[in-house]
Amino acid sequence: MNLQIRVVGVRKAFNEDRPNRFWAVNGVDLHLSEGQVTVLAGPSGSGKTTLLTLIGCLARPTEGRVLLHDRVISSLPEPFLAALRRQTFGFVFQRFNLIRGLSLLDNVTVPAYPLGIPRRALRKRALELLASLGLGHRAHARVESLSGGEAQRTALARALINDPPILIADEPTANLDSELSLAFLEILARLRSEGRTLLLSSHDPLVREAAVVDRVIELRDGRVVADQARPGGSAR
């Protein structure tokens, strides 16, 4: 199994240089393998989301390094980080973070604009993605009109538009009922079968115990307190 992402001695402080400084991630070492589904679990405030943003190049660690294929990415200049966010990582945010006032199609195509892909080809790909997620009929609707499940699938389509090998999802089932959560897990299984590496944060037992999950890493107070390979994980 190829070692893909390595987190080495990572710490992240908020409110630095202020009396109320706190460490959201406080000394984490991790090895994440290619093609696996990994879940970061833990209570609120345990540092799951912050760790995801550090791995996904949305923020830089205060201390330590994040490596991708043995290349340190956490200290790269901003344009390189943006390129990684654009083409290597796809991000599904907890609150989806779709741009209001735009259609589903426009939201999905947003990450591809800097690549200069011809408009027709881009829209075709976005429509195919939306159709594969059951949203083809709503492509021209505004995102304000979407249900929670639809908004999440739109966010997923946006994360996949540039075909990234790694997908990061922050609390993906937090706003979904059980039926929609199961549907999402099915989509995850499909993405995994395509060879993508999936990294999720969740405290939803439905996700942690899902068959598609290979590994559950438990965080508390910014530290790893448990790291379990799932015997039923489909990776094995």
């Binding site: 943006a82 966010r85 945010f93 779709l98 209001r100 994360a159």
Partner: protein, 359 residues
């Protein structure tokens, strides 16, 4: 931009209105200066006026003869002109004897504004009270064309004998002297010689008149722009308001764009397009509206201040005279600061880590 239609249209209206006001003042004063240059092109190179105790006084035939023989001087002629206050319309007219003649005794040719004010037309009779209290009547022989109205709005052309009777100016005396000097480089020398021969007179050069006109129109433009500076300041505050803080929605959107892989320069480029489009549209609307206001409608909003007539307003259309440099200056004064004001906060938001922007 369509997503924030109301806000952007409002901004476009305020911005366009400001450009409209600035461009109107610019176009109008520029066209007036151009018009005055055209008028003065016909004027004599030097006008000699006699001064007594610091006041302008009639010149005698002796003055006229004293100037003959100056080298470089092609011709000297005595001019007759003056002002007459008409209590009927409470306005001053400029009465003048045309140097080339063409007006028969007992008749008058009226400027268009004067004809309008008196409701008079060709064939009507118009009367004025002369210097001795007696009524002097003129039959109107014609109305001057409107295209020279800036100079001729309040003009009344009459014959020499009638002029002398009306104002009581004895034969052989003139209001002032007009000197023609074909070689522009000799004007100054001739003026010096005039002053040597006529120490009680002053010589007014055409260039000086042009400078005075320019200064007057510039000064009037400043007078208009001063109150407008309040509006400019308000716009600057609006732009700065926009500059000093993006709305939470805008910050969030920038964060999303950065999070999904846009670089800072991609965000800036998009905002530059937005700001550029808005400011260019405002500049375009403002200048086109100003052009139409000044050259199509004869600047009804500015004419009373900039033109300088108090009662008899000329009714005329200005010849479009716009300098490229002025347009360029207007462009940089309006579009450039706006772009800077909008880009600075976007840049500030775009250079922070996307997760910070989205928190």
């Amino acid at each position: 931009m369509a997503r924030r239609k109301g806000r952007n249209l409002g901004l476009l209206a305020v911005y366009g209105g400001m450009v409209f006001l600035l461009a109107s003042v610019l176009f109008y004063s520029s066209a007036l200066k151009h018009e005055s240059r055209l008028l003065l092109a016909e004027a004599p190179e030097i006008v000699v006026q006699r001064m007594i105790a610091g006041r302008h006084a009639p010149v005698s035939g002796e003055h006229l003869r004293a100037l003959q023989g100056i080298r470089g001087l092609r011709g000297v002629e005595g001019r007759l002109w003056g002002y007459h206050y008409d209590p009927v319309v409470r306005a001053n007219y400029t009465l003048m004897v045309p140097p080339a003649g063409g007006v028969a005794q007992g008749t008058a040719i009226l400027g268009p504004a004067l004809a309008r004010a008196r409701g008079a037309g060709p064939g009507d009779v118009i009367s004025f009270r002369g210097h001795d209290g007696g009524l002097v009547s003129f039959r109107i022989a014609g109305i001057l064309p409107g295209d020279t109205a800036l100079a001729s709005a309040d003009l009344l052309l009459i014959e020499e004998t009638d002029f002398r009777t009306l104002f009581g100016i004895p034969p052989g005396e003139y209001t002032d002297l007009a000197l023609r000097i074909p070689n522009a480089r000799e004007v100054q020398t001739v003026a010096e010689k005039v002053l040597e021969r006529l120490p009680d007179s002053r010589a007014i050069l055409r260039e000086e008149m042009q400078r005075t006109y320019d200064a007057i129109f510039d000064w009037r433009s400043t007078l208009v722009l001063l109150p407008l500076s309040g509006a400019l300041l308000a716009f600057a505050i609006l732009a700065w308001e926009k500059a000093s803080g993006l709305s939470a929605d805008e910050r969030r959107e920038i964060g999303i764009l950065k999070a999904v892989g846009w670089e800072t320069r991609d965000v800036l480029r998009m905002k530059l397009w937005e700001g550029g489009l808005l400011s260019l549209l405002a500049f375009l609307f403002g200048t086109v509206a100003a052009y139409w206001h000044v050259f199509g409608l004869s600047a009804p909003l500015l004419a009373p201040v900039l033109q300088g007539w108090s009662v008899l307003y000329p009714d005329f259309r200005l010849t479009p005279a716009i300098e490229g440099g002025q347009l360029l200056a207007l462009f940089f004064l309006t579009v450039f600061p706006y772009l800077v004001a909008t880009l600075v906060p976007v840049w500030r938001a775009a250079v922070t880590d996307p997760d910070e922007v989205m928190r």
